[in-house]
Amino acid sequence: MTKYEPVIGLEVHVELNTKSKMFCRCSADYFGKEPNTHTCPTCLGLPGALPYINEQAIDDCIKIGLALNCTISPKSLFERKNYFYPDLPKGYQISQYRWPLCVGGKITLDSGEVIRINRAHQEEDTGKLTHKGRDTLIDFNRSGVPLVEVVTEPDFTNVEQIRDYAKKLQQLFRYLGVSNADMERGDMRLEANVSIRPETDGGLPNYRVELKNINSFRFMVAAVEYEIKRQIAAIEKGEKLSQETRGWDEDKKCTYLQRSKEEAHDYRYFPEPDLPELILDTKKIQQIKNSLPELPWSRLKRYEEEFKIKRADAQILSEDKKLAEFFERALEYGKKHQVSTQEIANFIINRKPDINSVLPTQIIEDIKGKKVGVIDNDEVLEKLANQAIEDNQKSADDYKAGKENAIQALIGGVMRLSKGKADAVSVKKILERLLKI
């Protein structure tokens, strides 16, 4: 009996967080706004309107491509992708086809497998449809928002790889600061192309089933798993598998046919006459490359190799860029105070401090406090305080005379006497009490 293996490719669409839309100056911050209040003749597709490229979006697309090891094409063109649908105001989407911005990259999964990236290109988003009884309502606020589409080669063979890839891509988009990549809000969308082939056969199957319009990651994984089983069962029955587009029915827990090969769109791509070509010189590309932050997987590797942190911990610490930066600042400060990397790592992982309200330096102090034992016994502190006052009568007099800052010298004195172990806050309170006239 022939054994079959899945052949899967993924397409990810990510919505960029630019201020304005891809081809017009409407605000791209459309989420939750009143319908049709963020539109203009261009994104509404009024007669006579024309597109004008947002440079930030192009830069963001190039950043994504470079981070995925793509080659940036020296010449890039936009093309019209022609089809009819009520959420597509011009009756075509300005996208890329023959001359995409980024081609031929790769990304390495945790399992060590390398997934090849076919391309990353730029396009515009459509409006949003909602259904109300027998009517369909259309809001064009989202129409024209910049999208980057990342397409892999059909290198995936199981669902765990898909999970890892999606997670990495989401992390990348956040690291680059180009998108929130929030799947619930639709900032990041996934489509899968699924086929199967005999295990012994190395070639590409002559068909593929596109899984589209599945708006949660959980459903996508379920759909892929279901589809693999369905295709294997069909082939074993002797059925022929053909090019199709299928959706996911969450109630019936199965995929269903949306469009057959005969009904497939003929997009009739041709170069967008309203937009002159993009010629990307090596200087500009190098500039963008130089501006890239350290990528999450490079950082992960560095934490493991340089800081000798174990992988599971390194993953937590490097996952979010802000947390990673916080951790590294804490490390710097910790070096000065003989607090080890592992201690800092453990503290952050276990205590989960709120990095938005706590400074990295405070982490070090907390750790030091716990490690060497703080003196907070009032009796002991009072003795030290009196000694400090005796040693530095001038400051005591100055303080009594109204110079509030003079107390700092006395606090310093107590810290020296206690070899840094005194609790500074308590010391201050005690000195104030002792010096009150």
């Binding site: 209040t37 004008y52 490229i53 309502l137 009739r268």
Partner: protein, 103 residues
């Protein structure tokens, strides 16, 4: 090149242009004649010739990422076909079309 009625029907469908049977007949004749004339292009040797898609002489035309104000909702909806009175709540502000289902 002769366009059959079937081909005309297929092209009309792609172009979202509903045609009557008479129109299919008429256009298949007229379009075939035009395509025959256009066939002259096959006589031209275009080996090694780059295509021209744009004659503006421009390249890299881009703008800064700055948002400006949009049209008001009223302006946007002003040309939409007249809707029935007494629309259910929630349809205000939207364009309306006959129900469409998954792409």
């Amino acid at each position: 090149m002769k366009l059959t009625k079937d081909q005309v029907r297929h092209v009309a469908k792609l172009a979202n242009l509903p045609l009557t049977s008479e129109e299919e007949e008429k256009y298949s004749e007229q379009l075939s004649k035009i395509l025959e004339y256009i066939e002259q292009l096959n006589k031209v040797d275009t080996t090694g010739v780059e295509p021209t898609f744009n004659v503006s002489g421009q390249e890299n035309v881009m703008r800064k990422d700055e948002a400006e104000s949009s049209l008001s909702q009223e302006e946007v909806l002003q040309n939409a076909p007249k809707k029935e009175k007494g629309l259910p709540a929630g349809q205000a502000g939207f364009f309306v079309t006959k129900g469409v289902f998954d792409k």
